[in-house]
Amino acid sequence: MQLLKDKLNIDFMGKRKLALMLSGVLIVVSIVAMAARGLNLGIDFTGGTLVEVGYSDSVQLEPVRRALLANGLDDAIVQHFGTSRDVLIRLPVEETDRDKSSLSNKVIHALEPTGSPEVRRVEFVGPQVGGELRDKGGLAMLYALIGILVYVALRFEWRFSLGSVAALVHDVVLVVGFFALTQTEFDLTVLAALLAVIGYSLNDTIVVFDRIRENFRRIRKATSEKVINTSINQTFSRTLMTSITTLLVLIALYLFGGEVIHAFSIALIVGVLVGTYSSIYVASTSLLALDVSKENLMPVESAGRSDDGSQV
């Protein structure tokens, strides 16, 4: 079976202006969404209390809200979680409350008259810990990008390194923008997904770059644009295949993995789509914009690369 015909020759680079505009619009939308609506940060980052309870039968939210209100928990956000039997209650951090961690006990106590639900999950994150997790998350992202920048610069060349990081930043901005736009909750698992997206998108980019490097050395007379285009065409069926298999498992994860990893799988699904696109259009277009040429790659070769023996 084959999805694409043998001698694929799509003019990817010819449409790069269009792609640039598309990316530009998406990035602007993302940034505006982030600025205007902000991220719906989970309690991992904001601090607060979360209680998930399970009833034996379907339950209306109104009596649950009333029960909480009766106990003075008036700023609780109550919603169903997954099924109509499961209820999620969120409470913000109260600065005045001295013993913040006991809030969940109050919630559980307040819910007793509503049918003594089973406590499925309690999460409490103090405001200080939330702030630390936020800082750590940002740092993790930064270090991952720096690590990749260095590795790609060593293995390829600085233009490739800039190109791949441009693609990664593009992906991260779009995924985060998606979360701001849809107001899907952004928690620690989403942050992990974002780092996985970085890994995935980079994986894709590297495969294309590897071919570009190989072709620059192999094809003697051709413009940079042509070489890049050929390389993308040659790797295109692989790019599609891997995206499909990865999306298949992610959709399985989204549908069957349970409510807790919904946001995680959404982040990855969006990330894989964006990452596939960016490895072609952002990463490779950046190479062209940075004027990469055959000469840039020659000194690397003459430096005696031993690990490239496979490149006939």
């Binding site: 270090y143 690590g147 990749i148 620690l188 996985a196 891997t242 994860l253």
Partner: protein
């Protein structure tokens, strides 16, 4: 053709690949066996003595409880039972039969056969989000620890200056310093000398001439402060450990994290309100005189307790003891308690009291020389009771006598408790005294609790998504790459087994829900290497190369691409591991293991299969 065939592995290579798969596969087997209810017995000292198992066995036999099997190792004894009913009965029987220094806990044990046990195999550790339990992050209030310390010093300084017959001075404590005001420079010099001798190692002194007199300002020096803080953490950890042992939790984690935080993880505990109560409570100690006139055993038996006395039990021996109702001294007055040695080189605990406590203690002990004095440790304890077939934990206040000693002379600010059996005993008593004295307050700054039903649900959903994702990818690959796709599918299956095997082999690795997500993601991404190779082979064939040459070139040309692509993903995974917390770390672990395994299975594994099938054919038509 004189050259060796392109696509044939030597026999040893086939065998090495097979050996890796079989060995790691063997270690993944324990995960197939269901877990059984069990009780776990260990000893506070960390070493389980050889006499314990027979005692326990006899106790169970008397109650007619039949254990399904037992395991001994790592200084713990694990007894398996067929149902939770038997488990709870055995738990109660064990608690009764063994003394207070044994820790009896409810646990789950694998039902895998003995031969797997004998090769050291064990199932994967499951994170709290899969097995249920609570995770707390506690922060020790270091400010309070420092304030308490300076407060104690202020009181002690007052007494010392008075004892040195210095008159007309005043001691005030502001913030983290003690200000001592003298009338003139001479008395300040004298005072400085006295205090320097006593506290020179712990306090820094500065003479300040203010408009309000001749000041001597004392602050706790850096080293002492550090020591105070590290002691505060250690004490809290010790107190927590004592309480957790009482909770009957198997495999609890109590660890220091950073400078001022403690992580507590209690698998299987569901009642968080209770757990919080237990962890947050403060312990105290009290010194009381022993009523030596009445017989405690008689009092315990008849229930007739003499007036002015209270019946207590000793912590270790559980024997009754009668103590006077009046409290001589409470833990508040204890500044410090250290284990050490007396003048005969025997283990002892050296206790330092604050000024007020010392004055009172010295008066009472003077009246009671040659009489017995007891130390009572008061803490919240938890008992597990079986109510309507459900186990419930209840907190009760426990007051136990931890030490009884004869007063030899009038005791003052510094005294020691002698006659202890071992240095271990001394160490423990000192810890208990400190725990009951100046444990700095702790605050819960993070809590994550997962109920057992959600944990099981997470496992079920995780399994389901792995299986469905796995089947989807397998079908797709087989359709798309035909025979080569089937080779990739086999490699994928082996990859899954290897991930599980390696997760089971690494002692510290824990499977979490994000970890399962990592495995799912790996299933999708692991075939990437094969896709790269197969696409290359197709390309080579299109370029008119022979089938054998195409296979060879496909594998070798794709190699550096695969390596580059995977190393960069590994970088992201490692960063995630370093910066991630708890469950997120689990994602990084499975993702990394998956990436590394996939390199092995997708490159070496599929190559071996392809070589076996096509390698000896002269000009095969490739099903790719």
């Amino acid at each position: 053709m004189a050259t060796a065939p392109l696509n044939q592995y030597p026999l040893w290579k086939h065998f090495s690949i097979l050996a890796v798969i079989v060995i790691i596969g063997l270690y993944s087997l324990p995960n197939l066996y269901p877990s059984m209810p069990a009780i776990q017995v260990s000893h506070e000292s960390g070493e389980l003595d050889a006499a314990t198992p027979p005692v326990l066995r006899r106790a169970l036999q008397e109650k007619g409880i039949q254990a399904q099997g037992e395991d001994q190792g790592d200084n713990r004894l694990l007894l398996r039972f067929s149902d939770t009913e038997q488990q709870l009965q055995a738990f109660e029987a064990g608690k009764q039969a063994l003394d207070g220094r044994h820790v009896v806990a409810l646990n789950l044990a694998t039902s895998m056969p003995g031969w797997l046990r004998s090769i050291g195999a064990s199932p994967m550790n499951l994170g709290l989000d899969l097995r249920g339990g609570v995770h707390f992050l506690l922060e020790v209030d270091m400010k309070a620890a420092g304030a308490k310390a300076i407060n104690n010093y202020a009181a002690a300084v007052r007494v010392d200056l008075r004892e040195a017959k210095l008159r007309r001075f005043s001691v005030t404590q502001t913030g983290d310093e003690v200000k001592i005001r003298f009338r003139d420079a001479a008395s300040r010099a004298a005072g400085h000398e006295v205090l320097d001798e006593e506290y020179g190692n712990e306090l820094d002194f500065a003479e300040v001439d203010g408009n309000d007199g001749f000041l001597l300002v004392a602050t706790i020096n850096e080293e002492t402060m550090r020591e105070t803080q590290s002691l505060a953490i250690q004490q809290n950890i010790q107190t927590l450990r004592n309480r957790v042992n009482e909770l009957g939790v198997a495999e609890p984690v109590i660890q220091q994290q950073g400078a001022a935080r403690i992580v507590v993880q209690l698998p299987g505990v569901q009642d968080t309100a209770q757990a919080k109560e237990i962890l947050g409570a403060t312990a105290t100690v009290e010194f009381r005189m022993v009523n030596e006139q009445s017989d405690p055993f008689e009092a315990a038996e008849t229930g007739r307790i003499p007036t002015g006395s209270i019946l207590y039990y000793e912590r270790d021996s559980k024997s009754p003891i009668l103590l006077k109702r009046d409290v001589m001294l409470t833990g508040d007055s204890i500044i410090n308690a250290n284990s050490g040695f007396d003048e005969n080189g025997l283990p002892a605990v050296i206790i330092t009291l604050d000024g007020k406590g010392a004055a009172r203690f010295s008066k009472v002990t003077a009246e009671n020389i040659k009489k017995l004095m007891a130390v009572v440790f008061i803490d919240n304890k938890t008992v597990i009771i079986n109510q309507d077939g459900e186990q419930r934990r209840r907190t009760v206040k426990s007051e136990e006598v931890v030490s009884v000693a004869r007063i030899q002379e009038q005791l003052g600010k510094r005294f020691q408790i002698e006659g202890l059996d071992s240095t271990h005993e001394a160490l423990k008593l000192a810890l208990l005294l400190r725990a009951g004295a100046l444990a700095a307050p702790v605050e819960i700054v993070e809590e994550r609790t997962v109920g057992p039903s959600l944990g099981q649900q997470n496992i079920d959903l995780g399994k389901k998504s792995i299986i469905i994702g796995f089947i989807l990818v397998m079908v797709f690959m087989a359709l798309y790459y035909r025979l080569f796709g089937v080779a990739a599918d086999l490699a994928l299956a082996v990859n899954l087994i290897l991930i599980i095997g390696i997760m089971s082999l690494i002692p510290g690795a824990t499977l979490t829900l994000p970890g399962i997500a990592g495995i799912v993601l790996t299933v999708g991404m692991a075939v990437d290497a094969n896709v790269l190779i197969f696409e290359r082979i197709r390309e080579e064939l299109r370029n008119g190369n022979s089938p054998q040459a195409s296979i060879h070139a496909g594998y070798s040309k794709a190699l550096s691409t695969i390596a580059d692509a995977n190393v960069t993903t590994l970088i992201a995974a490692i960063v995630l591991f370093v910066f991630g917390t708890g469950p997120i770390k689990g994602f990084a672990v499975t993702l990394s293991i998956g990436i590394v395994c996939s390199m092995f299975t997708a490159i070496m594994g599929t190559r071996a299969l392809v070589n076996l099938y096509y390698g000896s054919q002269k000009s095969p038509s490739l099903a790719v």
